[in-house]
Point group: C2
Chain length 221, copies 2
């Protein structure tokens, strides 16, 4: 019997149940936050007994790690699949990804859990995201605020000697700086927006985001 897709029927079943567990985990995180995540509660919702989940995840921490992995991966996938893939497109992909599920955004970019250290393969995905954006950022013409022909700032010269994070990326320091600015400005709007610091302020955060993006991409008179 040729098993479709991947592996034996048992393996497929395992993957299916694992997926269902993480699905319920995401629901729970969305409603009560990551710190309230409980294996027993998930099992109950699935109509199973608590210990059953230990067939699929070695511990609660293991499940959380998987969720963090999924979160990073979903952003990486979304960015890779971005239509056109210019900086504006990537920025909106980032925003859509964040707004779709704020708790997922916070699991990655929010308050860190003291003492928790992500395993290596997760930091690898994170680096992949960075590299993808660096590629897009340095291979496209970026006017104005990100223009490479302004005089190098002190931070630029600092970056020249502190850029090992960019690995073997060919981007010049100016491009690294431009990327960092791109990244921090977008997160500035996003994190305050999603944390609710604009609620009651009555303006539309999406327009503020668009305005910041615009300032990054187009020259001003």
């Amino acid at each position: 019997m040729a098993p479709t897709g991947a592996g034996t029927p048992r393996e497929r079943y395992r993957a299916q149940v694992r997926a269902e567990i993480t699905r319920h985990a995401w629901e729970q995180i969305a409603t009560a936050g990551a710190s309230a995540l409980s294996l027993n509660a998930i099992a109950k919702r699935m109509g199973m007994s608590g210990p059953a989940l230990y067939r699929y995840f070695a511990s609660r921490d293991d499940l959380i790690t998987e969720l963090v992995r999924e979160a990073y991966q979903s952003l990486a996938d979304a960015l890779r699949a971005a239509p056109g893939a210019d900086l504006a497109g990537l920025a909106h992909v980032l925003r859509d990804w964040a707004v779709t599920d704020p708790q997922r955004y916070f699991l990655v970019y929010g308050t860190p859990i003291p003492g928790y250290h992500a395993p290596d393969d997760i930091t690898a995905i994170s680096s992949e995201i960075m590299r993808a954006l660096l590629d897009a950022g340095s291979s496209l013409p970026v006017p104005d605020a990100l223009s490479p022909d302004t005089a190098p700032t002190p931070f630029d010269t600092h970056l020249e000697t502190h850029r090992k994070w960019a690995g073997d990326h060919p981007a010049p320091p100016g491009a690294l700086h431009r990327f960092l600015i791109f990244w921090t400005r977008l997160h500035g709007v996003l994190s305050l927006e999603l944390a609710g610091h604009f609620t009651g302020m009555d303006f539309d955060p999406a327009l503020l985001f668009a305005a910041e993006l615009d300032r990054l991409l187009t020259p001003r008179p």
Copy 2:
């Protein structure tokens, strides 16, 4: 017997113990995060029994609320006492405040606890912070990126009709927009830095912060 400072000896004692409780609470938050905060653990550290704390805080939520209040208040105080009080000074006060105790920063600007709603007096302090920065931002000459004489963007026109959050503040829409940019860009660097997303990247986040601030305040060639 004239009680020094405020109130009767008993009242002073109460205030003292309350302060000690919050001090231990901050220690606990700094090491294990806000979600791990426990009344019993605090009591144990103080050499008291758990239920004793209920003389001082009605519930765990009550204590957390007090901590949030203290966090906001400490930032408001720091900003008010800022020397010179120009925008650059305020920005560095904000950064120092954040870096001093990242978990305190996250308690206010980090991942929100789903379902938690801050009481009115806290949102009042928050508004005070906004207003103080708006004052500083609109009463001082701000060149370049924050210059008021560029053509109004779509977001500017949006702000003209959606500015009720600024209350009776006399700032023109341009000044509100400038303030928001100031606020979001600084938080962009801060939140990513404190969440550890620059660790391993080897450059100095303080310089990136300074560079962003510089771009906000000085015209480029």
